[in-house]
Amino acid sequence: MWNRIYALFVARNLEFMRDRSALAWSVLLPVLIIFVFAYAFTEENPEKFKVGLISASAPAGPAARFAETRYIRFIEFDDAAGNLHKVERHQVDLLFDPGSGRYWINQTSPGGYIVEKLLVAAYADSGETLQRILVEGDEIRYVDWVIPGVIAMNIMWGALFGIGYVIVRYRKFGVLKRLSATPVTAVEFLCAQILSRLWLLVVVNVVIFIGMDLFVDFRMHGSYFNLLLVFTLGCINLICCGLVVAARISSEEVANGVLNLFSWPMMFLSGVWFSLEGAHPWMQKFALLLPLTHVTDAAREVMIDGAGIIQISDHLLVLGISSLILLFIGARIFQWE
């Protein structure tokens, strides 16, 4: 059994390594994305602003005027203390308590800078005073916040399309049929594909991580082992998603559609680029069903907060259990032809 898995593993690796365009694409694209977004979000202002309002005190006077400002999304929170980390992590640009006139701001937040100007302007002739409080702890820039998500997203593309397309192509052109005429079993074939894609994804993303560390200064407070564990489990989970998609399809066009159906919602609803803070509750609940949400959140907790295994165990558990379920489904419905 292991000999057969090893043979398929080696063959798939050779195929991938020698397909230079695919290899270059899978390495260059995420690097380009990182640089583009690192530049875009540290140098320029995002277009949307979010302000957290402590709802215990209803806005009145200048606070009410500020709360009517267009193009700012106001999100109600129960208290300030439990939500300061959202300012720290750029999930909201500013946290404002209308009752006390206090507001919390992250000095490195470009959105926070703009929103603060608007807040101060609203209070200018009112005679009421504002109290400015900078968030305590290390500053977290957007690039610190976005990098874990971008790496997770890169894993998602590599896993879903890397495994899905290959299997569908193998099926379409009869490679799977030829393999089915050998003693190789479906489980052996799938294991070899998972292992091959897994190590390639892990190595590629480790290289990207190291490369980014050299060129972009970003925050990494947690254990590298924990981060590797998160990304490895994320790879396995997303590869298994790809397996389920590719289990029966024999048309690349159909596979492309289904893989996009999986990937694009994850891209926008997993909090890779922007926080879902303030989004409709059903959307936030739906996001928890997406594996990329757990990979991104767990990676952020490790990299930004220095979280340990215990703190991220809920994400790991979700990823681990769903991987097993997906693998089981994939193996059950897999067809050689």
Binding site: R4, Y6, R12, E15, D19, G174, R178, A181, P183
Partner: protein, 320 residues
């Protein structure tokens, strides 16, 4: 006894018939197919097919495109599940032992890309417990010239030789060849025949599907002719011909004998630019042709072949 190879001008004096030898009769059955049925929606592709393949023999499934031979062979290979019927390999249902002992060459096979011929051979050799030496296979099937070449860059003949070598990597006891020479030029086809004959000489049992009658006649000890999913004739090639024909074909170029004359005077059949006159009395037929001033420069006399047999049995041509 004269041998009536297809395509040669041979005048048989007696019906050609080869009795199976005692050794052949006592050969054990390696693969047994009973009442096999396969349906695709409302189409019954294989309809109650039964036969046995003797160990060490070459068994040919002959039929036109769509006759059901590939579906039949794929069920025997374990690739497709039959809707009804039974397939026994050495007396038992198909199992891992069958997978280890069967060599399979599909009609069309894509190989993994960016892999060299040697690497794909190494990969396949790791699938089996008992394997042939890659270098020996490369010698035997002339793979050395392109052993380190990407599989995408092989010619049709090179690819067929590689696929045959891959099918033999596990020293198979039974070898399935599904239209192995389709698309090959005549020289490559004959080379492949030689290689298949070598495999047979080494003791392997061969199941071959083809729509080339010459190929079936050249390689097979026994043939089954399929049409519309059923076996319509089954025996040794010469025995089938002997059982159905005691006449010969006088063949003229269609341009030499006007169709109305050919059909009226000789009940000639026109196909492939030729007029085929079936006759039991060659001298009388030639006399009649001379009497009608038909030019005989391009006249050929040949024994009836499997294509004639198929035409006789089904009313259509094998390569249709």
């Amino acid at each position: 006894m004269p041998t009536s190879k297809l395509g040669k001008v041979v005048l048989p004096t007696q019906p050609v018939y080869t009795l199976p030898s005692l050794v052949e009769i006592t050969m054990s059955v390696i693969l047994q197919v009973s009442n096999l049925v396969k349906r695709f929606g409302s189409l019954t592709a294989v309809n109650d097919v039964s036969f046995e393949i003797r160990q060490g023999s070459c068994f040919g499934l002959l039929g036109p495109n769509g006759a059901g031979k590939t579906t039949t062979i794929e069920m025997m290979e374990g690739i497709k599940a039959p809707d009804a019927g039974e397939i026994l390999y050495r007396g038992a249902a198909l199992s891992q032992q069958f997978r280890n002992e069967a060599g399979i060459m599909f009609q069309t096979t894509a190989l993994q890309e960016f892999i060299t011929v040697r690497e794909i051979m190494v990969q396949f050799s790791r699938f089996y417990p008992d394997t042939a030496s890659i270098d020996e296979l490369a010698d035997r099937y002339a793979l050395h010239d392109f052993l380190n070449q990407d599989t995408r860059k092989l010619s049709g003949g090179q690819k067929q030789r590689l696929l045959l070598a891959m099918a033999l990597i596990n020293n198979p006891r039974i070898l399935f060849l599904d239209e192995p020479t389709t698309g090959l030029d005549p020289q490559s086809r004959r080379n492949l025949w030689k290689q298949v004959q070598q495999v047979k000489q080494q003791g392997a049992t061969i199941l071959l599907t083809t729509h080339y009658m010459e190929e079936a006649y050249e390689l097979c000890d026994e043939i089954a002719i399929m049409d519309h999913g059923r076996i319509i004739a089954h025996d040794a090639p010469d025995a089938l011909l002997a059982a159905h024909f005691d006449d010969v074909v006088v063949q003229l170029h269609a341009a030499d004998i006007p169709r109305e004359i050919g059909e009226r005077e000789f009940q000639a059949i026109y196909r492939n630019d030729n007029a085929h006159i079936v006759t039991g009395d060659v001298n009388r037929t030639i006399e009649h042709l001379l009497h009608l001033d038909i030019p005989l420069d391009r006249l050929r006399i040949r024994a009836r072949d499997l294509e004639d047999l198929f035409l006789e049995l089904t009313g259509k041509e094998l390569r249709a």
